[in-house]
Symmetry: C2
């Protein structure tokens, strides 16, 4: 009897002491999270990139230096299969800008070219300005009504945690120049798409022309300058502006995506893809957009690498040329479309370094339980359950649109658009503790996905 009792007891102890495989997974993820919360690695990577490379415009020599930096950094950290996947793209340079209000209120306004904007004719252009309270109002303007004029597209931007304000205010930048050109405008000025209403730093960012309208020069005014122009137009409708911009589109230039891996021990052909983008706009060191993302996914993967091999492959992809319109992501899709099934999960860190507060899923309904299991681990870091729709992030949205499962680890974007695409996007804006939380979330997440039983299936369309 005693023997039987002891046998039972030892069995119970064994069960308690050695957790199930499932419990082991959670335990390992928690260890990774603990390590990440103590690690300065993501900060060191971010400081190194933003200091040693600085601004890194897509397709520029500086972006090439960023790729060199990334290859050196990823190799030194011990990742496998570190390489560049090159592609070509149209280049662009910002040039100079001058926006001057005409008589009797002669004064300069502060603005910056929208990304990919053409320049003005040499010597600039001089024209009457017509203000639209917002993008929707521009759309009501009749064809031909703006012939020979400069359209000024005003409008507010709402501060939101999840970035919804960007989707509302963004169209005046994305499509405003095209829509104004269709109506005859010869140039466009927009109020910056940004929440820093007191800052004289205009927000750049890509615009997209259409084939059925001329490509006209477009620039963003800082918020206080947009206020000033609105006040001046209230005093004197029909005010003219002299606008000179030397931005130009260049012939084909080189860019590339930088890739590194931790090969999976059991399912090397099942890939968990962690994305971020290497390029920044030229006007800042891109600390939040997207130096932070580069630092977060790299440090998270390195912490996993030091901890032990995952069953599935973890692949870092540092995309090139995200800012001009996901050019690197499209090149990546094209290069990998024949083995896209190998990509079992995509996510990307490209919304700054505010704390991750929500997890959105773009996965098969039958896999939601697995996502909940991951979320349970991340809950201690303040991550809440989010939407059942997710692209994974800007670059990887190209992959999830092609069918891969995706999960978005949503950063707190409350302050993101204060400095987004402005010169103010520098290292000092990133909070080291928030960066650690991000790294911990990505480490825990990637470990869980790379080891969870059954993995993730393609969501139904």
């Amino acid at each position: 009897m005693i023997r039987y009792f002891l046998a039972c007891l030892s069995m119970i102890i064994a069960l308690v002491a050695s957790p199930s495989i499932a419990e082991q997974l959670e335990e390992q993820a928690n260890e990774l999270i603990d390590t990440a919360l103590q690690s300065d690695l993501s900060w060191e990577i971010l400081e190194s990139l933003t200091t040693e490379v600085g601004p890194r415009l897509a397709g520029s020599p500086a972006e090439a230096r960023a790729r060199d930096w990334a290859v050196a950094k990823l190799s030194k950290l011990g990742f496998s299969n570190v390489h560049v996947e090159p592609f070509s793209m149209p280049g662009w340079e910002r040039g100079n800008i001058s926006i001057k209000v005409g008589e009797p209120y002669s004064q300069p306004l502060t603005g910056t070219a929208l990304g990919k904007s053409v320049g003005t004719p040499v010597g600039g252009l001089n024209a009457e300005v017509v203000r639209f309270a917002n993008y929707a109002e521009l759309l009501t303007a009749k064809e031909g009504s703006l012939i020979g004029k400069i359209a000024f597209i005003d409008g507010e931007m709402v501060r939101t945690q999840d970035g919804a304000g960007y989707r509302l205010a963004g169209p005046r930048r994305w499509s405003g120049p095209y829509e104004a050109a269709k109506r005859g405008a010869i140039a466009v000025l927009i109020r910056s798409v940004g929440t820093d209403i007191n800052s004289r730093t205009p927000h750049t960012g890509g615009t997209t022309y259409g084939d059925d309208a001329p490509r006209i020069p477009a620039a963003a005014l800082s918020n206080p300058d947009a206020d000033q122009l609105a006040r001046l137009l209230a005093i004197k409708p029909g005010l003219t502006i002299h606008f000179t911009q030397t931005s130009r589109i260049l012939t084909e230039v080189q860019s590339g995506n930088v890739v590194a891996e931790i090969p999976g021990s059991k399912f090397p052909d099942e890939v968990v893809l962690l994305g971020a983008h290497l390029d920044s706009w030229d006007n800042s060191t891109g600390a939040q957009d997207d130096g932070s993302g580069v630092a977060i996914v790299t440090a998270a993967a390195k912490i996993i690498l030091d901890h032990g091999q995952p069953e599935r492959t973890i692949r870092i992809v540092l995309f090139g040329a995200e800012e001009p319109g996901l050019i690197g992501a499209r090149a990546y899709l094209k290069a990998h479309e024949n083995n896209l099934d190998q990509i079992m999960m995509v996510t990307e860190s490209d919304f700054g370094a505010g704390r991750v507060w929500r997890m959105d899923t773009g996965i098969a309904k039958t896999d939601e339980e697995k996502a909940d299991r991951i979320l349970a681990v991340l809950a201690r870091l303040g991550v809440t359950k989010g939407l059942r729709t997710a692209t994974g992030g800007p670059d990887v949205s190209v992959l999830s649109a092609a069918g891969t499962p995706a999960i978005t680890l949503k950063q707190n974007g409350w302050n993101y658009f204060d400095i987004h695409h402005t010169p103010n996007d520098t290292l000092d804006k990133v909070d080291p503790e928030d960066l650690k939380q991000n790294t911990a979330v990505y480490a825990g997440f990637a470990w869980m996905v790379a080891n969870i039983k059954g993995g993730f299936n393609r969501p139904q369309n």
Copy 2:
């Protein structure tokens, strides 16, 4: 007995109902304060100047437009003796700037020329950078130790309410280029003298060369750019920078002081001088520096004008060319030095539009009781007793140094140096309620000084 009692009663009633002359003065000042607290006039003046004129660099056509604006505005408001007192001065223009870090960390830094700085040779200069942790450290460098080098003068700036941090950090801008040139430097970069440590907007402001050293080009880096340069120099001492600046000093240009008065009813030759300066740096609309001052003293005087004639003359002086070094103030002194005794009090609003929180006095000891009487009236507006030393303000310090009594109505400068001399000094930074408090303080103050029995005597030296 009843008759006697009634007589006494009527005497008491008379005493209560008609206050003494002294009490009347306080009552009138309080009425002015009440009016000012309800009035939008100072805001309207500030909005008009910053919108319709915009930036107004000393000696520029824009400053001339500001004088035209001021003459029109002061005349329309009904002041007497509105006129310009012209003077000439050396002009200056900022030109363009390019600061590029050399290999292997090639990247641009954001900076702006210091006011009155010369430019670099055409094509710029390329030289090793030597960092000094602060201005004091530069002063310890030996003569000849900086030959052929660019001195980078770093240093912090302490945030203070009374502007003391400016006096501590300011010397690297005021004298840094001169001191570096004496030691052989060929150019100077300073960390901006500003408290906005997260902003990519460099602070301009005048520097002064000496006759015994070459005039070398000098610029200020924004705080994050100074951080970046410090980090880069820590990685690679001996880093080079390519610095091009096209700023230049111009031949003699015109400026002027704009004057307006409310003539005194009893002592027209006793003048209470309310100063502010009309010029701003070229990089902003100068809302806080010193559009607010122009608005405050003009609105305060207008509220007095509408209320009734003061016994002494109240004179508004809107100085030209304060920023390049009190040039208008010196011209004013020169033009009026033969009748300086007529100026019975000077004060100036030139520290933004934060609430007035302290009154400092530079007056005869025997007049301190009068100052206390004024302070008692201003106490309801939150003005506290300050130092027994005061210059009255930057421009009027030239007059108080020559012997006039002075009182400084000290504005709260806690946030002043976040935007001081930067593009961010725009209308949106001024709080309308704070501006009203200022106007009320100046109105109550000016009325009291212009009517107080005995006036103010010259302080002893």
